[in-house]
């Protein structure tokens, strides 16, 4: 029982991270039809910013998070304006551009952080909450979970309660129809990648004190993001959030009871099974040709 509760808590916290970066990927794909391979590196840049500002130069953790979010948002906007917009009619070109950005960001991180060991960020929130004498949750993880849920709630409000959000969803549903309604596609694309980048930056910033930070950490992030996106349904934001939580719980469960190696294999098998059995994912919609 103790172990089950502990794995549920661990899984929910993981789910928060997964949802942050997977939703950004889905948003960018939905609006711009670009598979952003550099999304993991956007998360990495968020983590590096925390390391550089907070761990190395004594900035407060919260201000450093804001800087990380802003920085990654700006990188996203630049990618949209100078890479994805000129190649909008060719999804393959956008994909290749994103792979180029992936390598550039890795090299930038190496130049900034230097070679050598993975970077570590001391947790700003020390200590552990102990419930019922056995359930142990580090305050740093509680903080990350609260911020993740807060950010996703804000996103939900933005998408469902604001005109810009409606416009964004309209473009994701049908770009041409949206344009015919007078929606500025360029502006909406900028907003989509801005929001996606901000969420990736936030995910990296929140993960920074909890993981090894290195220029290649985005690799694992993007694989997880793809699994979550496919399981949730490509293009479905609510599907991505649901899949993120379910996949995190599934991955944590398998890790606890069968080991980390099996969990990795099972995650990839799950993705393949969904692609074969239900290609639209949990909440994706079949689109007719």
């Amino acid at each position: 029982m103790e172990l089950i509760l502990q794995f549920i808590i661990n899984g929910l916290i993981q789910g928060g991270f997964f949802a942050l970066f997977a939703v950004g990927l889905v948003l960018i794909f939905g609006v711009m039809s670009v598979v952003n391979f550099a999304h993991g590196e956007l998360v990495m840049i968020g983590a590096y910013t925390i390391w550089l500002l907070h761990a190395q130069n004594g900035f407060g953790f919260i201000p450093a998070i804001f800087v990380a979010v802003m920085l990654v948002t700006i990188i996203g906007l630049l990618m949209e304006r100078f890479l994805f917009r000129p190649t909008r009619d060719d999804p393959l070109a956008g994909l290749i551009c994103s792979i180029g950005v992936l390598f550039i960001l890795q090299v930038v991180a190496t130049l900034v952080g230097g070679d050598g060991p993975s970077k570590q960020v001391p947790p700003p929130f020390h200590g552990t909450l102990v419930l019922f004498d056995f359930l142990r949750i580090p305050y740093q993880r509680i903080f990350s979970l609260v911020v993740s849920v807060g950010a996703l709630s804000l996103l939900w409000y933005f998408l469902t309660r604001t005109k810009l959000g409606w416009a964004l969803r309209a473009v994701a549903l049908d770009r041409e129809a949206a344009a015919l309604q007078g929606i500025n596609i360029n502006r909406i694309s900028m907003i989509a990648i801005g929001v996606g980048g901000a969420l990736a930056g936030l995910a990296g910033a929140l993960m920074a004190p909890l993981t090894n930070i290195n220029p290649h950490m985005g690799h694992n992030v993007i694989i997880t993001a793809f699994i979550v996106t496919i399981v949730g349904g490509v293009g479905s934001l609510s599907g991505a959030v649901l899949a993120a939580v379910l996949y995190a719980l599934f991955h944590t469960f398998v890790t606890v009871y069968f080991g980390g190696t099996v969990a990795t294999i099972c995650g990839l098998i799950l993705m393949v099974v969904v692609l074969i059995v239900k290609p639209t994912g949990i909440m994706g919609v079949r689109v007719s040709e």
Binding site: E2, L3, Q6, F7, N10, G11, I13, Q14, T110, D115, G116, P117, S118, Q120, P122, P123, T128, V130, R136, P138, R141, M207, P209, L210, T211, N212, N214, H216, M217, H219, N220, V221, I223, T224, H251, T252, T255, V256, Y257, G259, G260, T261, T264
Partner: protein, 422 residues
């Protein structure tokens, strides 16, 4: 213009006075020395960089000191040591390119490498070229690798000394769980050695938890292991010690912790607490440790080396900082003995010494029973424990004595994990 012998002596004397008063480096006077190049084909970027780059820094310090002292006398000639490094980023293709570049273009006389797949990729070529090559992983040695030696780190055989010490000092610790990455080069070799060492000490291994390199959250792994309530948490990994220690701290582990390495333990203390990290047992000392003044230790002025390293590279000390320099010193001893810098002659001289100058003393060639050739040096190895936030050697114990008594147990566990033995 005619220059007499007296002019040269006068000029030399004047130069010495100028150098003595102006602080010019003394190695200017070693300018007439020959130069011998030693290659390092190592990861200097990427995930494995902590096991490459600090070693280059260490070698550069040793080479600079030797050159400043007039070089190394080998076979009647004085040689300056020049380190030539290639970054293979732990990529086998690059490792082959780097190896060929070092041997063919740079004309190095020995190539130092980390080990694993990058060494395996260069071995056939090294064999053809008869190029002296070193590894930190003796498990790279095969019956067909005559020119590959492991004269310093005998990963992971030294781990047995930590378990011996733990069992002696904490006899109530009777169960252990091992966590490691699932690769055959580092993780499984280490897991097999730990399993053998625990068996010899009568400690039950109740869990061996293997994971891949894609893990970003160690909370579930640690929860799973701690649910089995081990007395000892053993990290046979090196890559993920920090996040594992962090999780052990948060999940309230109170037992003994033993680890192969504890690189950057100050960062672990910053993430947990000094009180928690104190008592952790591992195998790699800081070189300002007074215990290294022990007369059996074959490393000149370890404290001075440690100070220079940390001054020049304050955040880069790792397990390999002193290991590649120790190999370099082994090579110098071999070259002096051979009276030559030629790889085959140095190798022959090194192998002819039945008691080679192992860094912690007590060295002997070993390995034929496990890997097919006695090309690995094993000897004494330190057991290091964190005390008051600082790594301190508690004892030197003999790896060779352990192997003499228990090699069959080790071979059994290596076979169980599917590892190559002869």
């Amino acid at each position: 213009m005619e220059i007499s012998r007296r002019d040269i002596l006068r000029a030399t004397a004047a130069g010495a006075v100028i150098a003595g008063t102006s602080g010019l480096p003394t190695n200017l006077f070693a300018a007439s020395n020959k130069t011998v190049k030693i290659g390092m084909n190592i990861p200097m970027t990427g995930d494995y960089a902590p096991w490459g780059l600090p070693g280059l820094y260490g070698c550069e310090i040793v080479a600079k000191d030797l050159n400043a002292a007039g070089g190394v006398k080998i076979g009647g000639d004085n040689y300056n040591i020049e380190m030539v490094a290639f970054d293979h980023a732990y990529d086998t293709e690059k490792a082959v390119q780097g190896y060929k570049k070092l041997v063919l273009e740079d004309d190095v006389k020995m190539v130092m490498m980390l080990g694993g797949s990058t060494v395996a990729s260069v071995l056939p070529w090294a064999q053809r070229k008869k190029m002296l090559t070193t590894t930190l992983l003796p498990s790279d040695i095969t019956t067909k690798s005559d020119y590959l030696i492991a004269t310093c780190e005998s990963h992971p055989l030294y781990n047995v000394t930590g378990v011996e010490w733990l069992a002696k000092n904490f006899p109530n610790a009777k169960t252990a769980a091992i966590v490691t990455n699932n690769d055959a080069e580092y993780g499984l070799q280490s897991a097999a050695t730990y399993k053998a060492a625990f068996e010899v000490e009568g400690i039950d291994v109740i869990d061996v938890n293997l994971h891949g390199f894609d893990i970003t959250d160690f909370a579930p792994i640690v929860s799973s292991v701690l649910a089995k309530k081990p007395d000892i948490f053993c990290m046979a990994t090196s890559f993920y010690v920090t996040p594992l220690m962090e999780q052990l701290y948060h999940q309230g582990f109170k037992g003994k912790i033993i680890s192969c390495t504890l690189d950057y333990y100050d960062e672990i203390i910053a993430k947990t607490s000094e009180e928690f990290v104190n008592g952790t047992i591992f195998q790699f000392p800081d070189f300002d440790d007074p215990a290294l003044n022990d007369k059996g230790v074959n490393f000149p002025n370890p404290g001075d080396f440690d100070a220079k390293f940390r001054k020049d590279h304050p955040n880069d000390w790792s397990a390999v900082s002193w290991e590649y320099p120790a190999i370099l010193l082994n090579w110098i001893e071999g070259a002096k003995q051979a009276g030559s810098v030629e790889p085959t002659k140095v190798l022959k001289a090194l192998k002819s010494n039945k008691n080679p100058e192992f860094v912690f003393g007590g060295g002997q060639w070993w390995g034929s029973q496990l890997w097919g050739q006695d090309n690995s040096v094993v000897g004494r190895w330190p057991v290091v424990v964190v005390e008051n936030g600082k790594a301190r050697i508690k004892e030197f114990r003999s790896v060779s004595s352990w192997l003499a008594k228990n090699k069959k147990v080790l071979i059994k566990h290596m076979k169980e994990l599917g590892l190559r033995t002869v």
